[in-house]
Symmetry: D2
Subunit: 362 residues, 4 copies
């Protein structure tokens, strides 16, 4: 609960956008997982703003592993990664103190935390925190890959520009993971143009990120209250901006008939599978051995430069707000690696519950 995700393999995160540091604690991993600092760096690079139109806050993301790793391998105890905050322009935020950014968490944070919230840069609500998640996820992603389990994410939609969806029987995971702007079709330039255009309009734009997990065994998850869908959804709704999630055909099921969308089973080479995958690899909350496929709807970044109506919750007055800090006109691209990282924790946790702590190393 709170800042902790998972049951047997857990991820705990901490930090505020403009505090001394952010970080993540991974617990429940077995001793003996190889930890590659290069993988962590590469994952952080993918999350970092780097394209035209993205925020000009570019943290170096220098991280240090302060516990849980010994001689290059997990030692079986909690792994902690620390990322100091450096490029903080805290003064950007003093001017707008009390002015609630529409669709952001400023007002609820003020109410929930009794007026003691860290209002600088969104505090604990900042996307900044996700750097720690991405760094931690790199360790787990590597461990899962060593067991033949792969997780891929791509930008299925950015504003009006659409990519194709994953092939649900054989998702293009390696292909999208190889790209810094992950799409299946060659639509990255169009998407970047859409972002840039929104930025020029002092506006922002939404999108959809699609995820796929391949190589899972049959039997992860529970029918009630710990379904694979539910566990993934709970985890992924933590990402600021995710406002919808669907598995397989998702909302497309609503207007369908069972005879069209039921997934026929088949035996080939002694292995049971399905010939379609409208259920996104999950039946009754449990993995069926087919790729797990899901899509997250991402709202436009709330922080825009255009003037908006709002309130000053310190004075109780109505007010106008134009946001001048450094912000992304679309966070969709940056969410792709975050979504991949969070998914890796959910999968590792489900595997650990089912096959025990040492599954990832044995």
């Amino acid at each position: 609960m709170r800042n902790t995700l998972g049951h047997n393999v857990t991820l705990t995160i901490f930090g505020e956008s403009h505090g001394p540091a952010i970080g993540a604690v991974i617990d429940g991993l077995p001793g003996g997982i190889k930890v590659s600092e290069d993988s962590i760096k590469a994952a952080l690079d993918k999350r970092r703003p780097s394209n035209k139109g993205e925020t000009s806050r570019v943290e170096k993301d220098s991280f240090s592993i302060v516990s849980g790793v010994f001689n290059g391998y997990t030692n079986g105890n909690a792994v902690t990664i620390l990322i100091p905050n450096s490029d903080t322009h805290s003064n950007d935020y003093e001017a707008n103190k009390g002015l609630a950014r529409p669709s952001h968490a400023d007002y609820v944070a003020h109410e929930k935390y009794n007026g003691y919230e860290d209002y600088r840069g969104g505090g604990h609500f900042s996307g900044r925190i996700t750097a720690a998640i991405v760094a931690a996820g790199a360790i787990v992603i590597d461990a899962l890959e060593a067991k033949g389990i792969k997780i891929g994410t791509h930008i299925e939609q950015l504003g009006s520009v659409k990519d194709t969806r994953f092939d649900v029987l054989n998702p293009e995971i390696d292909a999208v993971n190889a790209k810094s702007f992950p799409t299946i079709k060659d639509v990255s330039d169009e998407m970047l143009k859409e972002m840039e255009s929104a930025g020029k309009d002092m506006d922002s734009v939404g999108g959809i990120v699609e995820g796929a997990v391949a190589g899972l065994p049959v039997g992860l998850g529970e029918p009630w209250f710990s379904s694979v869908e539910g566990e993934l959804a709970n985890a992924l709704f933590s990402i600021g901006g995710v406002k919808g999630i669907e598995f397989g055909l998702g909302f497309g099921f609503a207007s369908s008939h069972g005879s069209e969308v039921n997934d026929p089973l088949t035996v080939a080479d002694g292995k049971v599978g399905t010939t379609s995958n409208n259920n996104g690899g999950i039946n009754g909350g449990i993995t069926n051995g087919m790729p797990v496929i899901f899509r997250c709807a991402i709202k436009p970044t709330p922080s825009i430069a255009k003037e908006q109506n709002t309130v000053n919750f310190l004075t109780g007055d109505n007010a106008k707000l134009s946001i001048v800090g450094r912000h992304d006109p679309a966070i969709v691209r940056r969410i792709a690696p975050i979504l991949r990282a969070i998914t890796s924790f959910v999968i590792a946790d489900l595997l650990s519950i089912e096959w025990g702590r040492n599954f990832l190393v044995k």
Copy 2:
């Protein structure tokens, strides 16, 4: 985890479709909540198949409260409701033993439970279990209403027939809860026709159920890993057939600009609110005092009479299957009260975490 939902207020469910009984244990409620058997009966009636085209399995749903209630009030200990199974036609299922119903959990259950699954009527995966959830939910729904918190659900879509969406600033909760076939517009006859038609075709059809919660205080939920969206999503994905969930504008955000969909704040009578509600009452994972609005995509009932391709997982052969048991051609209507009940547990839990155990009685 497993069959238990929640942190401070918990719901634990048990039972199989064709076992002796199903039941629910509610824990964490304070002493002093009035328990109305009439409310429980009324809630069970709403869930029961009663319309043309719905399953002919009609359980009496006679329930008994075996713990936690004393002299008509909760006594502060675990409340247990037991519902015996009576109208079980177990032999319907022996014939098809080993034949996995496409898109159902038969195959995953066989694999996960080492071949010892109760295969009769879907066992623990059966919608039957939801009767216990609905009965338990009636107690919590009443307690929430006494505190001014209302939960409503309606059928927004059934196949090709659409209802209007909730008014996001003032959802029509009382109106939809008063109906046995809950819709906002007068589309129930059309929807029933769609169900009937699917049934005649030996087929089934999907839909969308929309939920609204009004009267919530500001400040429930957490930014990370226990967002209101995440907690509700995890709970609601337990309902067999739910394959997508979105909050507020949901997937509609993907092609929107921030300037169009950000919710402007305003002060009126000293109270902060928003003039639109595209975020569905939740910012940064935390309630903002506006109605919480969400939609669940429901897949068509997997069990259809039409012949389908599948496997016999006991023999390892490909096979054909025509399902002759009693099944609903659409479970959308029946999901509405279930979704309401599950939502009530999530809300009660979030309230308890924030304001303590006695919030519901003080």
Copy 3:
């Protein structure tokens, strides 16, 4: 939390002494564990009062398994055992309503549950609830024994009469489990006399129950906050009357020197062990492969016939109380099988966390 014990394998209990029924839900067991109703009956018999001087409330303890078992084996879903209450003399308790039994939970229950507590027979605080735990434990005890893990409990002390302690390297588990009044030495007659004598004096008497677990693998438990000692202690302090617990030498360590009580390690036949077992099979919170040994201090039954000073919390006055209901002058003997059952859940949970769900059947 609350009425639920464990993480991966969980036990949830419900019921009040004079309500319709008590029960237990076991969750997280794999499919395929053999369930013997005879074992459940035998375990309930051991818990039942049967000796001179014990309470004259003799429930038949007829139980029914209402979920989770199919054709004599666990089906992988929640196992629920229900035990109806029959021999309830509720009127015994109306006379003393508002009179707090000293050292019992009457007063705290009244305060905690806002005055709505079920005051009849101790309600949810009654030892009656332990019948459900013992019944549920029988299933887990059998499953553990099938894997070579044995749990034994005996009465080490009853008032002034002492049994010998377990041989810490080779505890006499089978021997004590075979007895209805479990002691190692032949002191049962003396102990019964002590109980009888206390009863005649309208008084009660305390004692110590010792437990041993043999056959555990190395590596269960965690160094911090989930040590084997901590998990067992948390579980066992739920037993009404347990007011102390110690592992291995326990409080005997306080006046010892390291050189006397450190357990030297040794290799024999390629297997590492220790030549003494002062640590009770646990180092750093983790099992070391030697027998786990612990002792629980049990206070005298609070309910005694002798007149005591107390308060009437309904009127706010000082008062006198002589308890005339049916009560045991010592619950030590009856706690032995309860302690065994609860221990079995903790062990099964620790095993499941470490080796996965199917460990007990594979």
Copy 4:
């Protein structure tokens, strides 16, 4: 579970004795708790070895708060305290690699963590980790004191030297907390002599630490599986060396009669209390408003200089071991502030569950 303690208010710890840093994350605290760096320093000073005969490893314990505190107050998000390790003599440990210290966790860590354990200085099993707990506890202890809840700990026994026990109706909390070597009677010199003497003998010695909590409301804790005794016991058994815990009269109950040890209730000034406190402030697992009193048995430090028999688990041979590192001949004094800190977390958690998140600031 694992390195995380608590339900609503949680403590997560990480770090190894000779890694870059140790730390603690406190989650679930409300916004608005004053954070005093002086209190943290003072608490760390009490834990630090400072007396004759204690370890010569003297860390500066310079700490930094890297999240959750803003302008001197908690901001409502996870509070993280980081303590770098500096005075590490890692080479002390290379020589003895593979040689299991008797009664320490070396062997179990090697087995549990698949041979990847950080063996330097006990790794994650080191008492060093408790510095982070003590630092974090200082924040919670201050918050509790501001609400009138006080926690005191003293050394009741060190080897053969005994202090008096707390006055159970009015424990001497302020008095013991004011001392750097906390005892009620003037026995600190005798105790120091006992430690020094053990050290000279290349040996170590055990003891008992007693704790008291005053000012608690009635109603914390649960009858089953979350009793106050169970929650405290689970937390306190995490402290390396704690091998027994008892509440109130504890093991003294075993030979007592109910009429002697039941706590009579009385009303004075409209307030219900008891005239004795043999139950240590807890009935049926729930606080009754009297001081909570408990004692922990501490085993002698396992690391002694005297030669001991053991095994080399890397070679599988029997071996001899003389430990030459820096170690305390008794950790009893240093455990007193640790026990106080851990107790503060359990109490804050129980309060939060019962009265909501903001109890500590409202």
